[in-house]
Symmetry: C2
Subunit: 584 residues, 2 copies
């Protein structure tokens, strides 16, 4: 009953009109062979893979889950062969450098691929979700011999990496981790300790697994300044098993097809990545990429929630609606999508899904520019903006994913609560994204404390400039003037909030922590406003008869009609939070 | 790890101070033998039963679920013996009339019992949840011989009733139902048709089951005016099986220990309850009671979400907080409950749980007065107010239950997502309450269209008067003046909204449907404001050193500090909704 169709038409709209990516590609030497038809060919292929191979395994993978036996983990039926098809299609290599066997395509294309993977089968995509981050981490911090030895295997998909941070006592606070690494005489290390909640820590998709592990050297300072990063393969080059084993799987609310492992490192041999005690910096290369990916999970959940609600609401007849579209005759009962409460939900689902898509892809496009733009200032600004957007995308998108899945479930009524329609699975799967890779509360603190206040508003100023530029451009077209004016107002509000926070924090240093969550939500809503103001403006490039053009204007209209209440809520909450919070 | 403690102290506070129930009981002949110590003795007993018998079956029941085999349903291990203990304790009889073997206690006590049942084991409590409603329905609409025959069995718990409304094509819209009843020569009827999503439609807790079934007579008008209500026992008096069978169970997101049955009526013998074609009116007696119960589920979920988050947040150490309580020394990491984002969640959980408790119990107390008050006007007003509160409690409480369970899960971080801590079960269980017994969207329409606009504001005027009275009383105490003023403002806003809706609806008849959801939320927040304004005021009756008194003032302070943003959101949304919603 649950189904997924890759939204290729909207993806193309974002690439071609919202981002005008082909023009940027032409300006970068790295992508000068790429054009829109080629990019769309890649996405069409990815669409077929996700629709035909992954989506059919979504429900069955949830029902079957993973099984652990004597340290070995079996993934659900079909997962391993789907992975082989993924490798054969060259998908792990999509955005990796050509010198290492990759396809050298932009991260923008990878973002679209990731959205499709997560939308069609979140649990399956957990196995591949960290690949690009691990590639980046090793490429930027690994010793040359480590790169030579392992990067080609990662790029080809022969092995899969993991990210081993969490320990029972150290979740959000990696500074508390105890896993230790003892130096050996040959330059390698022996790792000892327990890691928890390790996605893909053990599985049957690949022969070998590369664990990227945070641990402490014997003489390391305490806290987060004494953490180093190690590469620990499951199998050593002589084919022998390394000293790491999976001693159990978590039973979880969702993503049941993803093996969430408890790992024991018992003298496992590993190699340092980057400098001693600088593990967090190396890990953050991977983590930033992972956070963008997690945001794209929220986008994927919202997209499937929207697709499935839309289809069901058109088919299910219940009660008469107060109004029908012109020319439609009354029957014994109307389809759900005529009822006002359901129309609001559907319009919101579409506005959230399409609105977030442009923003998520923009962040990926900025990462491409940060790496490949010719002009150094363009590179620097793109990097700063991408850093700023990352926590917003991670937290705002994942909260949307959960909320919109719940809204979609509500459209199905009782049928939404039974497993047959699988929207309940989407809701369960979506919930984890608000927690892992830094909980949404951590993202909110990262955004306001570090990314906005921490750099004295430099990156934030770049974002405001982007918003104001869009408001200026929108002002030229009569249908967009209202949207442009709303966006301009929003900039002013946001700038005023930041000024006020700076001021207030001098007297009340807890204030930014109290408002961080609402500030992040406000930024998220602002990004959606940018998304819809620009979508409405650039939809002019579509033929007047194109239903996508009408749909974009309709969604923008809806979004801006209901924008004031969203702003009112978060702006007022930022004021409410001037009151201190009691210790309970 | 998950645990439940009956919040007896707060229940007593609501009974004694918030409602001043003992004074009301003394004025009703029906309850003049009841006093507070006796009432608390009953609740303590109920607390022991739910903590010691039901709570330990909550997780195991979820893991095991129900099993169907050849028409027979087995409930999870322990459910049947827990039911026997419930019957032996006389709990089904709590609020039923003494003439029928009941204990004749107020519905207020039953509300507290229900909260504990749902909080400790929602799935189990599904089997008993409809008992009081079925009792009321049969007592008010059943023929004398039907009452004589079946009421004592219901009151004693010998049989359990069901409510059979839904069919595959008829969910929210019972007017679409097709199940038919053919009259026989002996005054009984033969029922034919399929019913879906029937909670407790088949199980192993009792020998017999009494199905209350909506069906159509052969000459019935179409739509909802042609529906009649029938009593259809699973077993006939000769011990033979009646023509009704369970042909399957739903696999659901949650409440897995509750048997959600698909029933086939194949010439089952039944008897008419009430008049032909007046089935909806008879069913609504049961439905109104059920809706209040569902609201209490939301309260129960919020309460366990709060208890478990509170405990975990005090124990789990992660990262340093920006501030600590005075005199507390910094350690390597602080407990979660020092971190501002977590403090806000915890304060909100407590304010929601305790705030809703007073309102939910107030509704039950009003039902007692509607039935037993000496003065006819008191009875009438109490009934009108209870009718008005019912959809608010059903929808607002259940949405809170789901949201607060999600907030609580977030406190647990990754541990919240694994089954071991069972807060993920609370989240899954809570989600159904937003759907069944009339979806929350149906409640919103019922509230605004029928209960507020439909009676020209009479019942709504009674509510405003209650709110204004509280605002007046609160004005007398300096610590409550701010709360009282906020409540008064809220009344004015709410009254203005209703006036505006009446006006606007003349030109735009869809407008009330577009704002119904936000209007209901606004009413819910207003009821919480009433709850906290009164709690703060009446907490003066507690000794100054009583931590409950300090806690009530702290919660009221928090609630009113953060009230403006909640109001801003819903008030602005009601304005936003002046814009029409496109057909999508």
């Amino acid at each position: 009953m649950w189904s997924y169709q890759a939204p290729l038409r909207d993806m193309q709209f974002v690439f071609e009109h919202w981002l005008q990516a082909p023009a940027t590609w032409r300006r970068c030497q790295a992508f000068d062979a790429l054009d829109l038809p080629l990019a769309m060919q890649v996405l069409e292929e990815a669409g077929r893979f996700t629709q035909n191979v992954l989506a059919p395994l979504n429900s069955s993978g949830d029902r079957q889950g993973c099984r652990w036996r004597a340290g070995h983990v079996s993934t659900p039926d079909g997962f391993a062969s789907a992975y082989q098809a993924y490798v054969d299609g060259g998908w792990p290599a999509l955005a990796c450098g050509e010198a290492l066997g990759g396809q050298g395509l932009p991260q923008l294309l990878d973002a679209a691929l990731q959205e499709m993977l997560y939308a069609s089968n979140h649990a399956w995509a957990m196995y591949t979700g960290i690949v690009y981050g691990a590639y980046l981490c090793l490429k930027s911090h690994g010793a040359p011999w480590l790169q030579e030895r392992y990067l080609p295997e990662i790029v080809s998909g022969l092995t899969l990496p993991t990210m081993c941070l969490t320990e029972p006592q150290a979740g959000s606070d990696v500074g508390l981790l105890r896993c230790r690494a003892e130096p050996g005489v040959d330059g390698s290390y022996r790792l000892h300790g327990n890691k928890l909640f390790i996605s893909g820590g053990e599985h049957d998709l690949t022969e070998n697994i590369l664990h990227l592990v945070l641990a402490r050297l014997p003489d390391a300072p305490s806290g987060s300044r004494g953490i180093s990063l190690f590469l620990v393969p499951k199998r050593l080059d002589d084919g022998q098993a390394n000293g790491v084993r999976c001693d159990g799987l978590e039973h979880k609310m969702g993503i049941k097809g993803s093996a969430t492992c408890s790992l024991v490192f018992d003298g496992a041999q590993g190699w340092l990545i980057g400098e001693a005690n600088q593990g967090l910096a190396a890990m953050f290369v991977m983590m930033n990429s992972a956070r963008l990916h997690v945001g794209l999970q929220g986008l994927g959940h919202t997209e499937v929630a929207w697709q499935n609600a839309r289809k069901y609401a058109a088919e299910r007849l219940q009660m008469r609606a107060p109004l029908r579209p012109e020319g439609v005759q009354a029957q014994a009962a109307d389809p759900l999508h005529y009822h006002p409460a359901m129309r609001r939900v559907l319009l919101e689902l579409r506005a959230a899904s399409e609105g977030m898509r442009a923003i998520g892809y923009w962040a990926a496009h900025l990462l491409d520019q940060a790496e490949h733009a010719v002009d150094p200032q363009t590179r620097q600004h793109a990097s700063q903006l991408a850093q700023l957007l990352t926590p917003i995308i991670k937290a705002f998108f994942t909260e949307q994913g959960f909320r919109q899945a719940s809204s979609s479930l509500q459209v199905f009524g009782g049928y939404g609560y039974v497993t047959e329609f699988a929207i309940e699975q989407t809701l369960r799967d979506s919930r984890i994204a608000m927690i892992y890779e830094g909980s949404n509360e951590i993202q909110a603190n990262d955004l306001l404390l570090r990314k906005v206040l921490g750099d004295h508003g430099q990156a934030f100023g770049l974002l405001l400039a982007q918003l104001r530029e869009e408001a200026r451009l929108g002002g030229d077209w009569v249908e967009c003037q209202g949207f442009a004016a709303a966006l301009e107002n929003l900039c002013n509000s946001l700038a005023a909030v930041v000024e006020d926070v700076v001021e207030r924090t001098r007297e009340d240093r807890e204030y930014p922590y109290r408002i961080a969550g609402d500030f992040l939500q406000l930024c998220g809503v602002t990004l959606l406003a940018l998304s819809w103001a620009r979508a409405a403006r650039v939809s002019r490039a579509l033929p007047e008869t194109d239903p996508l053009r009408a749909g974009k204007l309709q969604s923008a209209g809806f979004f801006f009609d209901y924008l004031p209440s969203r702003l009112a809520q978060h702006l007022a909450a930022i004021v409410d939070a001037r009151a201190t919070l009691a210790f309970i």
